[in-house]
């Protein structure tokens, strides 16, 4: 079985060599269905990154293939097979959702290509199943949750009510929160996937009277939750901390309902390093909306590939050299610093962020105090890679 795969990978390598002066990049994200908004942020960020590099990543003529995973694992697998075997890409980049990343992980790392996640960071890939063919420009899923757990702990909240969707990422998220929160968990409620009514949960919160609520509720349900939380008059009574719920993708729809709510991030639009200022200004000029961390991570992904390929002088066939070059790659990240952990996932500074205004008055998430400096994820120790 391995030999057959190696043979195919070898063929891809051989064909790759024949057209060595061209860099082929596949970009996969969700462009249809409920997650389409996030896919758009991710793609626009990446395209701006490529644009800023003159359309040539690593100084090579760059051919980009953009595909839609439709948030269906088997469709994602088919699309990635197409990227790997038909388009013979050197890099697969993007991916909003963890289940899609997991679905394409094995085929990509077993082929000759590198997989660069610009968002999803499931624990399996950060830990025991890490690979030298996988890199991330975002984070491990738990990190944002842990940062908020630490924030709750630092703020002295004693009793916290936890809320997340009833799926794996929800459970992992709450586990991440509890890692640094040492107070009492009043209740831990898991809601139905795609739920839009939270009246029952809000009544439970009111009855439990916690010091704070911690919610992980991405997408449409998150918007519904924040609106309903505000309508119940709770926003001013019980602080709502949340991850991937109140961010620059949902803020336009939330408006005033999100005022004063707290989240955590390794990036915000008001970071004042020059790379970020250029990124945010050009992004808003080109696409007409405020970028989110999705866009920022994808922008970094383009810079990261550029730096990695430059480090091997465009020689894409020596995979070991390319891997080493990616590990050493340095570029002006919009986060202000760039450092990889042993499992190829960035070590980030985490700030608490809250809805505010950019200098010109446009609503955006803005950074608050530093919560975690140089925070590497907890799963890296399970990853056998050493370098």
């Amino acid at each position: 079985m391995r030999s057959a795969l190696a043979l195919v990978a070898g063929t891809a390598l051989f064909l790759g060599a024949a057209q060595a002066q061209e860099l082929r990049v596949g970009f996969m994200a969700t462009f249809t269905g409920p997650g389409a908004n996030l896919g758009q942020h991710l793609r626009d960020g990446f395209l701006l990154g490529v644009d800023h590099l003159g359309g040539r990543l690593g100084g090579l003529e760059t051919k980009l293939f953009i595909v839609d995973d439709q948030l269906k694992p088997d469709v994602a697998r088919q699309e990635v097979d197409k990227l790997l075997e038909k388009e013979k890409v050197h890099f697969v980049v993007g991916v909003v959702f963890s289940n899609i990343l997991l679905a394409i992980y094995k085929p990509v790392i077993e082929s000759g290509a590198f997989l660069i996640s610009a968002n999803a960071g499931p624990s399996q890939i950060a830990g025991a199943q890490c690979s030298e063919r996988f890199f991330s420009t975002s984070w491990q899923n738990d990190q944002t949750h842990s940062a908020l757990g630490k924030y709750a702990q630092d703020k002295g909240f004693k009793r916290v009510f936890l809320l997340a969707p009833n799926y794996q990422a929800g459970r992992d998220g709450l586990t991440g929160f509890k890692r640094y929160f040492k107070g009492t968990v009043v209740d831990e409620v898991y809601t139905q996937l795609g739920a839009v009514d939270f009246s029952a949960e809000i009544a439970k919160i009111q009855a439990a009277k916690p010091d704070a609520v911690y919610a992980f509720m991405p997408g449409g349900p998150g918007i519904a939750l924040v609106k309903q939380y505000a309508q119940a008059g709770l926003t001013r009574q019980i602080p709502l901390l949340s991850a991937f719920t109140v961010d620059d993708t949902s803020l336009p729809a939330l408006g005033a309902a999100a005022e004063g709510l707290i989240s955590a991030s390794q990036w915000a639009a008001d970071f004042d390093n020059p790379a970020n200022q250029r990124f945010v200004a050009d992004f808003r000029k080109k696409y007409g909306y405020v970028p989110s961390y999705f866009a920022a991570q994808a922008y970094d992904a383009a810079q990261f590939i550029d730096a990695g390929v430059k480090g091997v002088n465009g020689k894409l066939d020596d995979k070991a050299a390319l891997r080493d070059s990616l590990r050493r790659a340095q570029f002006p990240s919009v986060k202000g610093k760039w450092k990889l952990n042993t499992n190829h996932i960035p070590i980030n500074d985490f700030y608490y962020v809250t809805p505010g205004k950019l200098p010109d008055g446009t609503p955006a998430m803005v950074k608050g105090e530093l919560v975690f400096a140089d925070y590497g994820d907890e799963y890296a120790k399970d990853c056998p890679m050493r370098w």
Partner: protein, 318 residues
């Protein structure tokens, strides 16, 4: 880390609030389900496109409110636009499906769902539309036990009750309503008696769509107004009318209230209940899973005991 999971099931004040929540969800579902069940009962059409009518209602209400700042205007525009959409869909697609098999209807209207969802995404973008409430409705009614009830939820309950009463009034007190009920039993007989059944069909479709559009306007401020928002609601509405008995408006009301209550109470108390039987970690897995399945379990049980639903309409053979 300590955990103090409280047994909330015994708190009577909380129980009252949760019952109210269940009724409110039920009334919202009824507004969507009543149109669905009427169209099925009278036109014999399974109309999956009913969910996108709900979505378009929410979109029209949100855009109207954002541009005019008037909630009343938004509440009026949504059902009108929805009724128009319903009639346009009838002209373009549904009228060709009246005599076709249910399977054909499901597929063709599924095609409508694909198209309208994507058209809305193309026109408005994939991001959710803002739909804030005016400050005059940003308050909540304090209730004993530290809980409170948001004003907008009261509006939903009131709106749902008024429309339900109006609908039953029309169905049982007017000539048009009598004809609609008669058509639900035997449309062909009515046609032979010289009634313009086509016009009746249009009336039913327009009214049903208007109800769904109004439900979209009511749900807009509590949901995320985004493409595909009608899909989940449609599935719930189907569960409602199948449980209640397809074609029956009373059945839809009964089914909606049952589904609303079972869903809300399941989410509110099931996990606590399971915690009395299982260790907390296991209960946290089993409880939410059961709560998610609760309404489907309800529907399956009802269908196993009464295969035609709770209140079914007696119909002439077609």
């Amino acid at each position: 880390m300590k955990s103090e999971y409280r047994a909330t099931a015994l708190d009577p004040a909380l129980l009252v609030v949760q019952l109210l929540n269940g009724v409110q969800l039920g009334l919202l579902l009824f507004l969507v389900a009543s149109g669905l069940t009427l169209v099925f009962g009278i036109l014999d059409v399974i109309n999956l496109a009913h969910g996108v009518v709900f979505m378009v209602g929410a979109y029209v209400a949100a855009s109207t409110f954002l541009h005019s700042g008037s909630l009343l205007l938004a509440a009026a525009a949504a059902p009108i636009a929805a009724a128009l959409l319903g009639l346009v869909l009838d002209r373009l697609v549904l009228r060709f499906l009246y005599e076709r098999s249910h399977l054909d209807q499901v597929l063709a209207t599924f095609g409508v769902v694909l198209f309208v969802d994507e058209a809305v995404r193309t026109l408005f973008g994939p991001a959710a539309l803002p739909f804030p409430l005016p400050a005059s409705l940003e308050w909540s009614l304090p209730l004993p036990g530290g809980t409170s009830y948001p004003a907008w939820r009261l509006v939903i309950i009131a709106g749902g009750l008024v429309l339900a009463a109006g609908l039953f009034g029309i169905l049982h007190r007017t000539r048009a309503g009598m004809l609609v009920r008669a058509a639900a039993n035997d449309a062909r007989m009515l046609e032979m008696l010289g009634v313009d059944v086509r016009r009746l069909f249009l009336l039913v479709l327009g009214a049903g769509s208007a109800l769904a559009g109004f439900a979209g306007a009511l749900a807009g401020p509590i949901m995320a107004v985004q493409p595909g928002m009608g899909d989940n609601v449609l599935i719930l509405a189907f569960v409602v009318i199948v449980t209640g008995g397809m074609g029956s408006v009373q059945g839809a009301l009964l089914g909606a209230l049952l589904v609303g209550l079972v869903d809300t109470l399941g989410r509110a108390f099931l996990t606590d209940l399971v915690r009395t039987l299982l260790p907390p970690a296991a209960a946290n897995e089993v409880g939410p899973a059961l709560a998610s399945m609760a309404i489907y379990l309800l529907m399956a049980i009802v269908l196993l005991i009464r295969p035609q639903g709770l209140l079914s309409v007696r119909r002439a053979a077609r």
